[in-house]
């Protein structure tokens, strides 16, 4: 940066500072302030939540001509920041973990539908998957269900208390329906990161792991004699979600191939005639007292951004499925979604 431009930026900064003094006195006309911080429920700046949030925040910032910045502060801090700021300076983006954590009774998670305003959904990460070693005797998920039903113990490595556990819970629920009393043979191995879960499989401490298409696809293409080779058994995403993925799929696994692993090809019954599915959806959360006008403003802006169609391309390049629903629709939709999972979790307790 050249010297004059530094002076110029400094000058504008001082002016902005002056204006901030002035404008804080005037009652805000209920729109997003000039400086907005988007806090997310993850502490990783390399993860899907961060990536997705930056795509959306960048789009919004450009569209509304304001400053927006994504900060990976983690769930408990993010909720706390949101609690304290009804002005609209702090927004949050998170995914289904926000209510699943509450359903699983994890400390630090409250009922988001009661405590916050639900904002629009923006995208889906369709990658949630369950994998087995390539030389595993289980060819399909049904084999697993049958084996557990016959009294065989199957150990599944998951991260407890949320997105990683929900598929496991659904599987357990399905077993309790088809083979009552046998569900305890499906054992959770509680571990942490994806690295830990993979490690459990390599060390033969688990028979199946929770993973993602993005992180595990290359492992599924290793030769069978490689200790690290894996095989997809199940993707929890809805068929309709995967159908929207780019035709080439991910890596060298095409959309066609991915579709083999979703319902109805892989069936995990919920007992009501439907198959269990789970899409990891990203959505906004707002402070309950934030002005409705700001909620509307963001809905409006996102509607326009999604109408332009560019953001969808960006999301798809990063293997996200665009899924914009304005806040009212999103709140209703997510609440229904939660009640389904609540039933499953109470069933198996």
């Amino acid at each position: 940066m050249s010297m004059p431009s530094i002076i110029k930026t400094l000058g504008t900064s001082v002016m902005v500072a002056g204006m901030a003094f002035g404008s804080s006195a005037v009652a805000a006309d209920a729109q997003l302030p000039g400086n907005v911080r988007v806090v997310i429920g993850s502490t990783s700046t390399g993860g899907d939540t961060y990536q997705n949030s930056s795509i959306v925040a960048d789009g919004l910032a450009e569209h509304l001509d304001i400053n927006m910045k994504v900060d990976a502060v983690g769930a408990s801090s993010a909720f706390r920041f949101l609690d304290r700021d009804p002005r609209g300076n702090t927004l949050m983006i998170f995914h289904d973990q926000s209510y699943l954590g509450h359903l699983y009774g994890v400390q630090g998670y409250d009922d988001i539908f009661e405590k916050y305003t639900i904002g629009p959904t923006v995208a889906i990460n369709p990658g949630n998957a369950y994998l087995v070693p390539k030389d595993s005797p289980y060819q399909t998920l049904n084999d697993v269900i049958e084996a557990v039903g016959n009294g065989e113990e199957v150990r599944v490595a998951i991260q407890p208390g949320g997105v990683s556990e929900i598929g496991f819970s659904a599987l357990k629920n399905a077993i309790s329906i088809e083979h009552p009393g046998m569900e305890d043979n499906l054992v959770a191995v509680n571990t942490g990161s994806q690295a830990d879960k993979n490690q459990q499989l390599f060390n033969d401490q688990a028979d199946m792991i929770n993973g993602t298409v993005q992180a595990n696809e290359q492992y599924t293409r290793l030769p069978e004699d490689d200790q690290k080779a894996m095989r997809f058994l199940w993707l929890t995403a809805r068929q309709g979600t995967i159908e929207q993925a780019p035709e080439d799929g991910l890596g060298q696994t095409s959309r066609e191939q991915l579709l083999q692993y979703v319902a109805p090809n892989v069936s995990v019954p919920m007992g009501n005639g439907d198959d269990f599915t789970f899409d990891k959806e990203f959505f906004f959360l707002y402070n309950k007292d934030m002005d409705q006008a700001i909620v509307d403003q963001i809905d409006q802006a996102l509607t326009e951004i999604y109408d332009e169609g560019e953001i969808q391309q960006t999301q798809k390049t990063s293997f996200f499925i665009p899924n914009f629903k304005p806040s009212d629709e999103a709140a209703e939709y997510l609440e229904t979604k939660m009640s389904v999972y609540e039933d499953i979790i109470t069933n198996i307790q």
């Binding site: 930026t9 400094l10 900064s13 902005v16 500072a17 302030p33 907005v36 002005r87």
Partner: protein, 147 residues
């Protein structure tokens, strides 16, 4: 014999309370070590204090009370006002920028033994330039969130 050993070593951890398992062990280790330190270090030390050979830490030492407590008070005030001012101008870093200027100047003044005009002027310039530079580079160029 074999089974006796393995049952001695066997342990079962309940996931629901597993957060207390390791802290529990550490508490025991800490307790035992504390007792040892008490016997071998603290008691002989106190005996030496009584005989007047050693003096108690902190209480029995001379200190520059003004600069020591002044530092503590300034730092507390600095942190507190920074977040308060920052809250007026959310996510601009102004809280950090303006409060740091005041803090730097006051702390410099406090640490000076002789306050010559030249020294005070240096401190003032430093108090203006250093926070501005830090704020400009970090908050503006690199978009790091500051209070």
């Amino acid at each position: 014999m074999e089974s006796g050993l393995s049952s001695l070593l066997s342990v079962s951890i309940d996931f629901e309370t597993s957060h207390l398992f390791f802290p529990h062990i550490i508490h025991w280790v800490l307790g035992v070590l504390f007792a040892l330190v008490l016997v071998f270090n603290v008691v002989p030390f106190l005996a030496a204090v009584r005989r007047g050979e050693r003096s108690l830490p902190i209480l029995g030492e001379s200190m520059d009370k003004f600069r020591f407590f002044g530092t503590l008070v300034l730092i507390v005030a600095y942190f507190q006002t920074m977040s308060m001012v920052g809250n007026f101008f959310p996510y601009t870093g102004y809280g950090f920028l303006f409060v740091s200027m005041v803090f730097l100047f006051l702390m410099s003044l406090m640490y000076m033994h002789t306050r010559t005009r030249r020294k005070v002027l240096t401190a003032a310039i430093n108090a203006l330039v250093a926070p501005t530079l830090a704020w400009f580079i970090l908050a503006r160029l690199f978009q790091i969130t500051l209070p």
